[in-house]
Every structure is written in structure tokens, then in C-alpha cells.
């Protein structure tokens, strides 16, 4: 687990200094751990585990938008698990259950085999349609159609800077809408 934590911390440092490939690898690496913990939390609260993907996406968005609160001199895992725990409690509360989530839920997942994505997440997809047109088009193009920022700019006939701004604002509004639910 020590090794895993060090690897995550290293990847996050590279990500912060501008390495998007490292960031992508990091997000890929933490997702199965988050998924296993979300499933365990749901199961313990007596909720169907096929909703875990919504929670995973919720956590990933929070990690992304709050990554400036991570101290680059501190290990990454405790920071990540604090956010994950917060989001999991939030999700379970919204589903009408008030339960205590143990932080060990996350630390323990190393022993687990990676869990495959279950039901297709619905919340982000639903909220995507309620965004302003520019943000929705940009997110649609980059997320769903896998287009690059440059291709998206060409397709929508706007500058790459405008794509970047709309992309970030889209992620912020998406997160806000998920929280308001």
C-alpha cells in the first residue's frame, strides 16, 4: 500500500506541474479503489450497489475541482480518501441513509480485486443536458465524442481558449448541479 500511495503522490505532483498524461494515469488508477469503496458503502447502507458509478464520478469531479487544496508536500492518499469519504456520506445521505463511513473503507481496498464498472451512471448524463449550450457542446465533444480540444475548437468554430474556458466552466456547473440534487 505504501508503494501505491507513493506512486499516486508522484503522479499527482507531475499532474500539478502540467503533465496531463500523468493525471490521466492517476485518475485511472484511483477509480477502481473508489468504486470498491462506493460499492461497500452502498451495500452497508442497504442500497443497490449498481449506483456506485454515480458516486465514483461525483468523487472524481470533486478531486478535480478541489485539487488546489492538496499540499504537494503531503501524501496524496489521505487527501483523496477524505474527499471520497465526504462524497460517499453525502451520496448516502441524499439517498436517505445517515451512516458512518469508516475511512478504512478506502485504505482496505488494496486487497480487493478491481471491480468492473456496473450500471451506466445516470446522474452526470442527465445533468449534462441542463448546461448552457456552449458548455454542453464542448463537454459532449470532448467526453462523448473523444475529440481533442483543437478538434472541438474547429468543429464549433471557436478558439481553443474558449473551448478550455467552456470545458472548465462546464465541469464546475456540472458539479454544482449534482450537489443541488
Amino acid at each position: 500500500m505504501r508503494e501505491r500511495d507513493d506512486e499516486w503522490t508522484g503522479l499527482m505532483r507531475s499532474a500539478i506541474s502540467g503533465n496531463s498524461a500523468a493525471y490521466h494515469r492517476l485518475l485511472k488508477a484511483i477509480t477502481p479503489v473508489l468504486r470498491a469503496a462506493a460499492r461497500r458503502g452502498l451495500a452497508r447502507a442497504g442500497q443497490p450497489v449498481d449506483q456506485s458509478e454515480d458516486i465514483v464520478q461525483d468523487i472524481l469531479l470533486a478531486v478535480h475541482l478541489k485539487r488546489h487544496t492538496w499540499d504537494a508536500n503531503a501524501p496524496f492518499a489521505p487527501w483523496l480518501f477524505a474527499i471520497a469519504r465526504n462524497k460517499l456520506i453525502d451520496a448516502l445521505r441524499r439517498r436517505g441513509k445517515r451512516i458512518f463511513v469508516n475511512i478504512d473503507d478506502f485504505a482496505e481496498t488494496l486487497a480487493d480485486q478491481p471491480v468492473a464498472e456496473t450500471a451506466s451512471p445516470a446522474e452526470v448524463a442527465t445533468q449534462l443536458n441542463t448546461l448552457p449550450a456552449r458548455q454542453r457542446d464542448v463537454l459532449q465533444s470532448i467526453a462523448v465524442e473523444s475529440a481533442s480540444i483543437r478538434d472541438t475548437a474547429a468543429k464549433l468554430a471557436i478558439s481553443e481558449g474558449a473551448v478550455r474556458v467552456a470545458l472548465h466552466r462546464g465541469l464546475v456547473s456540472l458539479t454544482a448541479k449534482l450537489r443541488e440534487q
Binding site: G18, A21, K66, W79, I83, A125, A143, R164
Partner: protein, 212 residues
Amino acid sequence: MDTDQLIRTLAADNTHRSRPVGFVLALALLAAFPVSLLMFFAELGVRPDVMTAMHDPFFDLKFAITLALAAAAITIGLHLARPEAELRGWIWLLAIPAGLLVAGISGEMTMPQRLPMMTRMVGHNSKVCMTAVPLMSLPLLAAALIGLRHGAPARPALAGALAGMMSAGLAATLYASHCTDDSPLFVAAWYTLATALVTAVGALVGSRVLRY
């Protein structure tokens, strides 16, 4: 959107850089401070005998206490804006303003006084203090909440309470230059009450707006 697509999208947004929470908090407080200052000069103003008062250690102590409160609350509040932060080990910073206050009270006790204790504590300005400090806190409280909202506090009500304390500390610093009650007993009673009020408002609002 499946999770792989979301991850790719987040990675595409990696170039976006957010400002540190401390920077946003400082900016927000600096923007709000002139509003409180305007309220202060419009309604209260500095006391006329300020030049002589400055030589009174009990007048100066008021500023030491209120500024220590603001500084401690800002430090703890910024710490709590991190998701994994714990209060343990940090709450003791609030012992600095409290200690200054206790030291001031004991200091005053050792000196001969013209007025009885109760009179000094009740003072002449308690109503103004209880109104002015909370009102001048409001713009600063809004700013503090905006600043902390940029972070990811695990306990929104607690972070909101700290936002209340920092704004009350700054507002009380302004008020202290108007108020002619310099007895630490007056400070202990009314400044503390006003701060508690703003802290409660901060906790209440924070529990709603500081969730991330």
C-alpha cells in the same frame, strides 16, 4: 457519459490552474474591508482622544486581542479548508487571544481602580458594541465564506464558525478604536458576546454554503 469518458475529460482540463485558498480568502477580505471601514466612519469614527488613549496599555491591549483573534481564526480557517484537515492541534491558537484577555484582566485587578468591577464591565457602550461589531462583520463574513468556499472543508459548520470569528476579530479591531471602554472586563463581556453571535451566524450559513 461513462467513467472513462469523464476521466479523459478531466485530464483535458488539467491545464486549468486554480488559485490557492489563502489567495482567494485574502483577496475577498481585502475587497470587503473598505465596506466595513465605510460603515465605521459613517456611523462611529475614531474616538476623539485617541492620541492620549494610545498611551494607555489597556486601550492598546484591545487591538492585540482582536487582531490575535482574527489572525488565529484565519490560520485555523485556512487549515480547515483542506479536506483531510483535523481541528486537533490547531484549536489552541485561539488560546492566544483568550490568554491576552485573561492577562489583561489580571493586570487590571492588580491596579487601584476608580470604578467598581461591575461598572467597568457594564461600561457605557455595550449596546453600540453589540450592534456595531456584528454589523461591520457582515461584509467580512461574506468575504470569508467566499474565500473558504474555494477550499474543501470537511466540516462546513465548523469552517463557517471560523469565518465568523475572523470577521468578528477584524470588525472588533475597527470598533476598538471608537470605543472608550478600555477595561479588559468590558472586552471579555461584550466583545466576546458579539464575536459569539457572529460565529454562530457563520456556522449556520457555513453549514449550507461551505459544502463542496
